[in-house]
Subunit: 580 residues, 2 copies
């Protein structure tokens, strides 16, 4: 029993026991492939976060190992990702000057804060909080973030200085400095972007036509960024383009990740607390979506609360080793999965390979032009942009559409924090608004069944003395008064009514405010000589009503089913009194 408990907190003990040579080989091959992919990606996302390139490598080493020990996904690859890097840059850029030592320091603090929050949420089992981010809000947020990221990379693709953390600011500063456009940079950037788009859409079909196996073609097609990076680096070196003003990565220190201690100050912590929370939640949502998608393919299960602990540990690891906030990334995880990683050991091997690379290979990226990194970012994030979600949500429901639209516009116009914050708030408010004005149907009996449906939609039997109302919502404070008004209005026009039956099949809760409204309705109907009945009250709701005196004062009865209520109150079901 004891070991099972430890395994839940330290999943490595579970898969580690069954590890063998075949699995090792699969994992090793996956690790080598992933390492090659990760080098340009890590450098690029460090640049996006406004940090020196090595920070991207460091953020990919220790976090991967820690996630492998504590996380539950077999395929997830943890490290810097586009949206979180953008959010980090936006949050830190508000507080300290980009490019300074304080900036890198603040990134460590951000990772430490985010890691601690994730750990606390995991220990307190608060993973459900992520459910309050609706799919349309997430889709809108990711789309808008992708657009901002792509726009922010135009500076590296053109040599035009630009700044800003929303689309308006970025485009404005690009236009202001447009005269500084640098032709050799534009050429490199354009070629790299064009090549990467072609690799994405054209290379794999070409390789398949040339007779390559599907698996190998897929792997080669994913090496596009590596090829672009290598090709442009060679070009810069060969033609001495750096001397002509093309920005290059330059010297990257040849060391293992350093041991860093984030320097907390009260001021910094209070400035970064809210962004850190947003980064934690968004990172968690992104990571768990990827993890669940991949787990479903192999019938594995993900434990959300344990995932919080895995990601928390990874971020604390990042903060102690010169990194910045990390999470499970879509593209790197898919590469890992496709390359055949069987266990988290693949992640640990990837980390070791990256460590070797950061000692041995960093001189190779000296001539790497920043435009090529920007090109890999642009092509990666444009695949996240899905403006179709606006159309789909518009077709499906107005409130989902409003939530997406607000999220997209606020993210583009003001920034990532405002975007995701207003998305969450607006979707919750719309839900509350809808529940405050519930759908209430007057129902009648579907002939030759015991089933009741809306009189406006179906051919049903009704009785002039009996009104059956089905309330399609839990009764709670926000709609208690609404129900009262509705019932009074219904009976005001109809002097024949002697019985009102509230069919409660969709009432999942009656809170104290609604209880008081029901008492008021019962009292008022009684004064008019009309009896109030309830039918199909659910078990938990009835239990609660039994603890009050409503049912003793009720002028009518509580029926198990609407059919029984109608049978008893009208004498018989299909009587001549019934009129269609």
């Amino acid at each position: 029993m004891k070991t099972i408990k430890v395994e839940r907190v330290l999943p490595i003990l579970e898969w580690g026991r069954r590890y063998d040579r075949a699995i090792f080989l699969s994992d090793l091959v996956a690790a080598l492939i992933v390492t090659i992919m990760l080098i340009p990606q890590s450098l690029a996302y460090a640049m996006l976060a406004g940090l020196p390139p090595e920070a991207g490598l460091y953020a990919s080493i220790v976090p991967i190992i820690l996630y492998a020990m504590f996380g539950t996904s077999r395929s997830l690859a943890v490290g810097p990702v586009a949206v979180i890097s953008l959010m980090t840059a936006a949050a830190i850029g508000d507080v300290v000057q980009a490019g300074t030592a304080q900036y890198a320091e603040a990134a460590l603090v951000m990772a430490a804060l985010s890691g601690s929050m994730l750990l606390v949420m995991g220990v307190l089992k608060l993973g459900f909080l992520a459910n309050f981010l609706s799919h349309p809000v997430i889709a809108g947020f990711i789309t808008a973030s992708g657009i901002i990221i792509a726009a922010s990379q135009i500076q590296h693709l053109t040599g035009i200085q630009a700044s800003g953390h929303n689309l308006v600011e970025v485009l404005h500063s690009l236009l202001q400095n447009i005269s500084a456009i640098h032709l050799p940079t534009v050429v490199i950037g354009t070629l790299a972007v064009g090549f990467l788009f072609w690799v994405r859409s054209g290379l794999k079909p070409l390789l398949l036509r040339l007779g390559m196996a599907d698996y190998s073609a897929g792997v080669v097609a994913r090496t596009g960024p590596v090829l672009a990076v290598a090709g442009t680096t060679l070009a810069v070196w060969a033609f001495e383009l750096d001397a002509r003003g093309v920005s290059i990565v330059g010297t990257v220190p040849q060391t293992l990740p350093p041991f860093t201690v984030p320097g907390f100050s009260m001021e910094l912590v209070s400035d970064l607390a809210l962004p850190a929370l947003l980064i934690s939640v968004i990172g968690f949502v992104e990571s768990i979506s990827v993890a669940q998608t991949l787990a479903a393919k192999k019938r594995q299960r993900i434990n959300p609360d344990q995932e919080l602990i895995g990601l928390g540990a990874a971020n604390i690891g990042a903060s102690l080793t010169g990194g910045f906030p990390v999470t499970g990334g879509f593209s790197r995880s898919v590469v890992n999965f496709d390359a055949g990683a069987e266990t988290p050991a693949a992640g640990i091997m990837t980390a070791l390979c990256l460590a070797v690379a950061s000692i041995a290979l960093t001189p190779l990226v000296y001539y790497l032009p920043k435009a090529a990194l920007a090109a890999t970012i642009v092509v990666a994030v444009l695949s996240l942009v899905d403006l179709g979600v606006l159309r789909r949500s518009y077709a499906y429901s107005r409130s989902d559409f409003i939530a997406v639209l607000v999220t997209v516009l606020m993210t583009l116009g003001i920034g990532v924090e405002a975007g995701v914050g207003s998305g969450v708030v607006i979707s919750l408010l719309l839900f509350l608004y809808k529940t405050s004005r519930p759908h209430v149907a007057e129902v009648g009996l579907v002939p030759e069944t015991q089933h009741f449906r809306n009189i406006r939609r179906h051919q049903v039997l009704t009785h002039p003395q009996l009104v059956s109302m089905r309330v399609d919502e839990s009764l709670y404070f926000a709609n208690a008064r609404f129900l009262e008004d509705l019932i009074y209005t219904r009976i005001a026009d109809d002097r024949a009514v002697r019985h009102v039956v509230l069919m409660c099949s969709a009432v999942n809760e009656i809170d104290m405010s609604a209880l008081e409204s029901l008492e008021a309705i019962n009292h008022r109907l009684a004064e008019l000589g009309i009896k109030l009945h309830l039918s199909e009250v659910k078990g938990p709701v009835l239990d609660r009503l039994n603890r009050t005196d409503l049912l003793q004062h009720l002028s009518g009865k509580v029926y198990l089913s609407q059919y029984q209520a109608v049978q008893e109150l009208t004498g018989s079901v299909i009587s001549p009194e019934f009129c269609q």
Copy 2:
């Protein structure tokens, strides 16, 4: 058609047309009675709000007339009320020094802001916003406010200086200055409080026993505050107690309400905007509760949006005539109703009588001791205190109890704004939390009916190959993932299952996030060879699903009723395959 429209905006046109001599006489008698009651009440609430006594009279004159023109209640009496006066004092006291000219000025601005907000809410038909204040939150808030008000009056009943806008501050400052206790004041205060409590509980039964008619006994019993005020004034005058240090009201200007223009400054407006919103909403809720209670007794109807306009006009009137925020008060409205007011003309006559009083009668209150006013406040507000709501909500539901408890503790410990704000937020969060973890019941057929109930609560028929799940909540983003997990867990343990039927009788909405979850469930079940069916999907929900391709991809069918689904999927209903 046109006149009907004007009448809706100006209800005076409706009742004014049918006005006659009999109604006039009823209204006049009511107006005289109410005027006598209102004089001490108005002076007292001005004191509570930290304003000179005449402000209370002014706030009762023009607002009454404006409400009579625009409001829909026939019996509501508008003017200063205890809770709103406390909220006004708390909000203004944070911004300017009490007792200064700026303080009175700020009260005018507060009335103007609150009036404008109410008007805007009325025009935009935002009256439903008040529904988001749950009954337990209101009850807890009123109770806690009553306790704070009573505590704040101890200073006037004892002569001990005290200040503060929450219970902790008030009690702390009372204890600090306890040595300043003033015996003659204590005697007057104690006698007045004792007398008023006796009047409330003992006078009416005594008068009835002496043979007085029920109606007259009721009216006389309500004059208690007037008697206490008159008696203590005479005592102060006769024994020259003011010379011995008993605080008195002193000189009150003998004028009609002055014309005042609130002096807006950006800073003041931004400081007072949030408190003004809370005052508006709380005032509206209090007023409409009273109005609806009284209207129900005479089968009249209240239009909430028009009420907002009536109260908005009244508050703007108060701000232009030296007053402070007003609303429909419970005690004054009940007096008006009991005294026989038939139309809002009674209110207009009350206003005229009060105008005469503020010119002619103010010298009479020169010797009125503040301790007597404090006594009327204490006795009035203690009748609002209902700590039983804690016990009742505890017995009924944990979430209602938490909402009341948080509201009471925050109001007592921090203040009125924090109290009502946190009450609203906590009750909404609890509702969202509950809906994010819905009750889901596995159901079976109740024998010899077509009705399905929870297999854990009822003796029902089930079939091993078929799982019927009834989800007791709308499906939306906050619970979409929860449902997925639940279904996967249910079928993981049971290899016999071939059909899952989601009984959607309680599903009032399926949003886009939930739609995506249903698609995922359908896909995953199909991989396991299990068909997913829906039953009893409501009209509006089905309409929306028909706009997507879920139903085309659905491995199973959509059934009108759960009974049909089971009949078709198991061949027959009461077959030997069914096991109890």
